[in-house]
Symmetry: C2
Subunit: 488 residues, 2 copies
């Protein structure tokens, strides 16, 4: 379901005030419609990982499609006051906004694609005022969904083929923190969600067990299991740790045995506390002894990729992982630091722009950038960020942004493709949004094409991704020139 | 603006699947309408702090007011399939849900109130099915907004009277992660937000400066400042670190001097990188030398309560703090671990319920709980959680949950009030939602009534809050009895 079907309010004010003050300034200077190029990118993989899974484009597209100031929005802006009580904006500017139609070109990396630092995930080219205005919502949407998709991919990797269920709604950061994260987690690797509304809106498979309160509501644990088993003869997962976990497992088994003649299928048990390794091993033994070899052991309780790996190494007998807080909030790094930077502006000719930083690697890249990915039959080899406005050398070099003396030339015969695809042309959406299962499948393929040393979630190898040599040199020259000018 | 005006979709499926499977189970067992009591509470203050600011009640009330399964919701539930392709729910149950009207009593702590571990923030009493169903959305809403309000309160404390602006939208966890956090941050202590939609929806003051891209879009920094100053002669804050910060300050000053004859008021400069202490001191000196004593120095860049305190101790000359990522996501603890536990169920008589845990302090509390707060003229003295169904002793004792040998009797003459107030009676809302300025003012008063040792944001003293002695003894007896039963 599209954003515009979920929200009844216009989302056109979903941006920072300063986007509107700058818009007003550009408009007053007659610069509002000067053509400009911005790139949205991040500088560092989240979670200390070796790759990032792009997500959020669908919501970004829907936001842009609906971008149109409503009368209500305009009235709000008209009423904004400055510090001395004066109107912040002239009425003529408000009228301009009211007539504004989004008319930018947008190119973006499809959801589920693996991406690397400095690579534009979204490129916006069009009137300066508009391209600036959309900065904040694009960042909010892409930063968050990319973060969660990446977290989920790491957790799914750690689970090594086991089922992973997203259980985090109760700890999510607000309603959309739960909804769009459930979608992003599904893209990244979660197999299902407990969030019914996400199931309904995005057609994600939903899964669940029962709570402790279910057991507490009955006189005995046996009564509780039996009642649940009768309600769901084919789909019962009994939560066994309300009182004493291993006693709970035994009671679950005896209830399953009692209900079996009526066609009951013993789906699983869930462990939610205690020593998950020991308890799962004991539970597996009890289940196996009773002949319930196919009964799953589901675990939950503050799981993330690190704990799952640790439990597996210890020999835990868990085959379904219910992951909550740590996935839905990306607990160990709850924000991706994506930025949105001006890279070129046209005043007759294109002028390139960079934002200086104390660190070379953090200085933004000038141009109208595209990313070329080189690959062979088995895997992705290297990515090269280049300026579409400049001719490419016959044998381009890729300069490592963290060590500019490391330069790579891609092996002969490597194929390549461009990562940014057209999404809007002059404000018209020309991109067919893939359905969610396709995006999920794309993610899986993408990750499978990375060498396992890059997929390692701690201390991974670094995938070769950098600037095309001429672009790198041009940027260096620009920095030196700007520093000289600025220090005068 | 109410949730139902923001969302066009029904939010009745905004819950975990297992709430519906349990609902179905209760319905099948004829237990759906058995009266039950649940409490929503947290076990530990976030961020290692000494107090927590309750928030989210308004959204919780709006969610409950709108709780009604739509035809669309019912169709979705009808179509849910079990693992063998069979419908998960019987049609008769779907019809039951379709006719269901929310009919619980809800009592809650007003937004902005300071609260302590184990104290119910929300108490729901009513038909078991309904009271269970609302668990997840109440947790999502209250956990998140309480977390952010508390974070903002800590940051405002650290700022010691300086202005704090919430700047975090671009790093927020989704659209509502930005919106409801902007509101919660305002409740907790932020003075304004950069988020225009939050400004529009909740009538929060909006503030902003300009971005680096504004400066980059012009030939020179001077041109950029001059253009901005002309657009906002009374409200300009110049971002000075695009090229070289102190050169930027000098340029801002010369532009301000140039524009002054036209009535320009030099609002401020913003620092967004580098050594904020050194730069702010130098900037202050430059501004003062030029006679701009009232010009603010705004700082941003990964600020939180710790960094603000550190900068102040170092003598930074900053008087407006733009706080982004660390506040909007509560970066150092992005989830409050609030829980929702069954505490009593009526089957003829009330039966008390607890959820055992390996730690006594984590075991839930039985009864229909209320919180009594004792206070004198100056400050809050102690909180006592007690069971409304049992008579209170004349001189009640408060038992420290972390050391049950510590018992406190409140000083004679102390006044007291009950924290939970009626919000819904038999499903009808009977609570007048306070307006946002009142909630914000309430927070400020609440925090001012805590001893400063409790307000200290690192290693605070612990405010005396615990169980009334009889309730404590009753709980102990219940635990021992349950453990005996469970180990049999």
């Amino acid at each position: 379901m599209a954003l515009s079907e979920i929200y009844s309010t216009s989302l056109s004010l979903l941006t920072d005030l300063y986007q509107l003050t700058m818009a007003y300034g550009y408009w007053k200077q007659g610069m509002a419609e000067r053509e400009a190029v911005f790139h949205l990118y991040f500088r560092k993989h989240p979670f200390g990982g070796g790759y990032t899974v792009a997500a959020g484009l669908e919501h970004a597209v829907e936001y842009l499609q609906a971008l149109k100031f409503s009368d209500n929005d305009l009235a709000y802006l008209s009423n904004l006051k400055g510090s001395q009580g004066q109107p912040l904006f002239e009425q003529e500017f408000i009228d301009y906004l009211g007539q504004m139609e989004f008319s930018c070109d947008v190119d973006a990396v499809p959801e589920g694609t693996v991406v690397f630092p400095s690579e534009p995930l979204v490129r916006v080219r069009g009137p300066l005022l508009q391209a600036q205005l959309v900065e904040t919502p694009l960042l909010t949407i892409i930063n968050f969904e990319t973060l969660i998709a990446t977290k989920a991919a790491r957790i799914k990797e750690a689970a090594k083929g086991d089922t992973v269920i997203e259980f985090g709604m109760r700890r999510a950061q607000g309603i959309d923190g739960a909804l769009s994260a459930a979608r992003a987690a599904y893209i990244g690797g979660a197999d299902a969600t407990s969030n019914l509304l996400a199931g309904q809106l995005y057609d994600i498979p939903v899964r669940g067990t029962h709570a402790h309160s279910w057991v507490q509501a009955f006189e005995t644990e046996e009564d509780a299991f039996e009642a649940y088993g009768e309600a769901f003869p084919k789909d019962s997962v009994f939560l066994v740790d309300t009182y004493n976990t291993l006693e709970g497992v035994k009671r679950a088994i005896s209830v399953a045995q009692k209900l079996q003649p009526k066609g009951f299928v013993f789906g699983g048990i869930r462990l939610d506390s205690g020593d998950l390794t020991y308890l799962s091993q004991q539970a597996r033994q009890l289940l196996d002894e009773a002949g319930f070899h196919d009964t799953s052991i589901v675990a939950s309780n503050d799981l993330d990729e690190h704990l799952i790996t640790h439990l597996k190494q210890e020999g835990a007998k868990i085959n379904v992982w219910g992951v909550g807080t740590k996935m839905i909030t990306a607990y160990d790094q709850p924000a991706l630091g994506g930025v949105y930077k001006l890279a070129a502006i046209k005043d007759g000719e294109w002028e390139y722009k960079i934002k200086l930083s104390e660190q070379l690697a953090k200085t933004s890249n000038p141009g109208i950038l595209q990313v070329r990915r080189y690959y062979n039959q088995e895997r992705y080899l290297a990515d090269m960020i280049y300026n579409e406005l400049e001719p490419l050398p016959n044998t381009p070099q890729i300069v490592d942004p963290l060590d500019v003396t490391r330069r790579k030339t891609v092996e002969e015969g490597a194929k390549h493709k461009e990562l940014l695809v057209p999404v809007f042309q002059k404000g018209q959406s020309i991109y067919t949004l893939p359905d969610l299962p396709s995006i999920k499948a794309h993610t899986k393929t993408e990750i499978s094409r990375l060498h396992e040393s890059i997929r390692r979630y701690m201390n991974p190898h670094s995938y070769p991704a950098g600037l095309e040599g001429n672009l790198h040199q041009f940027k260096l020259d620009m920095i030196l020139k700007l520093k000289g000018k600025s220090d005068k």
